[in-house]
């Protein structure tokens, strides 16, 4: 599974488990508009850490926090690439 698929799958899982209607996950969808609140995102981050072995938020500076779904995916893709090097 690509990183992008993993991320989107976790968004979908968490939304389903919390009975939240998720907006369609396009790259330019704002995270704040997705339907997921900070608690949901926290759960997504925890599960992605278990699945991919990375937590990019642990070391991300304020200025680089993701705004859109696409940003979020790129953050994880970068972290996974870094890890594999």
């Amino acid at each position: 599974m690509s990183v992008q698929s993993s991320v989107k799958q976790q968004f979908t899982n968490v939304a389903k488990q919390q009975n939240i209607t998720l907006a369609p996950l396009t790259d330019d969808l704002g995270l704040l508009d997705s339907g997921l609140d900070s608690l949901c995102l926290a759960v997504v981050v925890a599960r992605l850490e278990d699945e991919l072995g990375v937590d990019p938020f642990a070391s991300t500076e304020e200025s680089k926090l993701p705004v859109t779904v696409g940003d979020f995916v790129h953050l994880y893709e970068d972290a996974v690439n870094k890890k594999q090097k």
């Binding site: 919390q18 608690l39 926290a42 981050v45 925890a46």
Partner: protein, 461 residues
């Protein structure tokens, strides 16, 4: 039953009679109480310890039991040292109690400055003409681990430790008590004294046995009353030796007894199940015998079995004549000005009942919202496949912490089974708990560690 301010333990045992049939059972041998008359397990050296301060440190618990019986009323002060006491702590305690001697059943390897005397003890008895003579009220000092790790020394006497015997026992035979607890710790000691003062027998646990080995050993002695923590009982149900015992009376304390474990143990053993609150400082609180978790809300602000109960700011406070007298060493007073001890347990009223929700100092903070891990565990334990559960904090870069959980299931299970149960558990949590209390991940594990005290091991994060 009379209070025991003046009689020594041996006098009380003797007064209760029936010494030929009553026994104490250890790992290596069973001793009839009649054998203790005019016999010594301390090679006759109890006399040299008259009026002095001693540390009792043994590997074998039956040896400890025999030493306690022989020394109460003779020594001024007796410190019950648990097996995991580190050398530094032992020296600290020895200094604080001004110990003159160590009573020990093995070789002490530490270099114990200033403790001049080593008095050997064991489970072998030798004939000895005992002159108990003028007796003194012995201070029993129990050690409890403080949060700093340095042990706190709590001072009791036989009066504060001796318990009123439950007269609701309806059996055709004399009670045989047994406890998972170490008799050197408060919970186990209370059971031990209850057995001896009440005219009964006791089967004593061991630090060297697994749950299964313990059940196999004790099964042959016709145990009628058995006590342990809910974690002890959860492990018992999972053990292949679970059916070695069949106690008609079961008691739980030390951890929150949720409805699931109360029901499961009651059904498994067809026993009467009670749960009790007990702590080294507060003294025994009260027992709940109606088979339900928590306690009736009507009890708050009243006295139940000589214990005053109060709930203040969600915390359970108790006042009893059995509150420990004091601490030794540098420690804050045990109780507040009005005599109430804050147990540190938080309770919540739902309907006509108070339920335990967790320890005050164990809360997890998720994005500013507080959670007791025990609340989450109680929900997980509602699932019929779950035998044990542990919830704890996991660091999270977005909310600070999240709740996560591990569970132990019954029987064998494969990957598909585990996935299915994990989904069911998540669904169960969502139906019972607000979103921030639902575990972010639920892992199925093969076992969860339980400490020597019988309490599940919790890790802070």
């Amino acid at each position: 039953m009379q209070p025991y301010e003046h009689k020594s333990l041996w006098d009380a045992i003797y007064a209760a009679g029936n010494l030929q049939e009553r026994f104490l059972c250890g790992t290596e041998r069973v001793i009839k109480l009649a054998e203790l008359e005019q016999c010594t397990s301390l090679r006759g050296r109890a006399e040299t310890l008259r009026g002095r301060s001693v540390l009792l440190r043994t590997r074998d618990l039956l040896a400890s039991a025999l030493a306690m019986i022989e020394l109460d009323g003779i020594v001024r002060r007796m410190v019950l040292c648990p097996p995991d006491l580190k050398t530094d702590d032992l020296l600290y305690v020895a200094a604080a109690v001004q110990a003159d001697a160590i009573v020990c059943d093995g070789t002490i390897v530490e270099d114990l400055h200033g403790i001049a005397e080593l008095v050997p003890c064991g489970t072998e008895l030798e004939p000895h003409a005992f002159q108990r003579g003028a007796q003194q009220p012995t201070e029993w000092i129990l050690l409890t681990s403080g949060t700093t790790g340095t042990p706190k020394m709590v001072v009791h006497t036989l009066g504060t430790l001796g318990m009123a015997v439950d007269s609701s026992v309806l059996l055709d035979r004399r009670p045989v008590w047994c406890s998972f607890y170490d008799i050197r710790r408060y919970g186990g000691l209370c059971i031990f004294l209850r057995a001896l003062l009440g005219g009964d027998s006791m089967v004593i646990s061991s630090v060297c046995e697994t749950t299964t080995e313990f059940l196999e050993r004790v099964g042959a002695h016709g145990i009628t009353h058995m006590s342990g923590t809910p974690s002890h009982w959860r492990r018992t149900i999972m053990s292949p030796a679970a059916r070695c015992i069949s106690p008609p009376y079961i008691r739980m304390s030390g951890e929150i007894a949720d409805q699931a474990i109360l029901d499961r143990v009651r059904d498994f053993y067809q026993a009467k199940v009670a749960h009790a609150f007990a702590s080294t400082e507060a003294g025994v609180g009260f027992a709940v015998n109606d088979g339900l978790a928590g306690f009736p809300a009507a009890w708050a602000g009243t006295r139940q079995s000589e214990v005053d109960i109060k709930v203040e700011d969600g915390a359970l406070l108790l006042r009893s004549r059995r509150n420990a007298i004091r601490y030794l060493g540098k420690n804050p007073a045990v109780c507040g000005a009005d005599g109430f001890v804050n147990t540190g347990d938080m309770v919540e009223q739902r309907g006509d009942r108070y339920y335990y929700v967790g320890r005050r100092d164990g809360m997890i903070n998720v994005g500013g919202l507080k959670i007791h891990p025990e609340e989450v565990e109680t929900v997980l334990q509602m699932h019929p496949r779950v035998r044990m559960a542990l919830a704890h904090a996991r660091k999270n870069s977005i909310t600070g912490s999240l709740v996560v959980a591990e569970v132990v299931l019954d029987e064998d299970h494969d990957d598909a089974d585990r996935t299915k149960v994990a989904e069911e558990l998540l669904h169960l949590c969502r139906s019972q708990l607000p979103a921030h209390k639902v575990p972010a991940t639920i892992r199925i594990v093969s076992e969860l560690p339980v400490a020597v005290t019988g309490k599940i091991v919790r890790h802070g994060e």
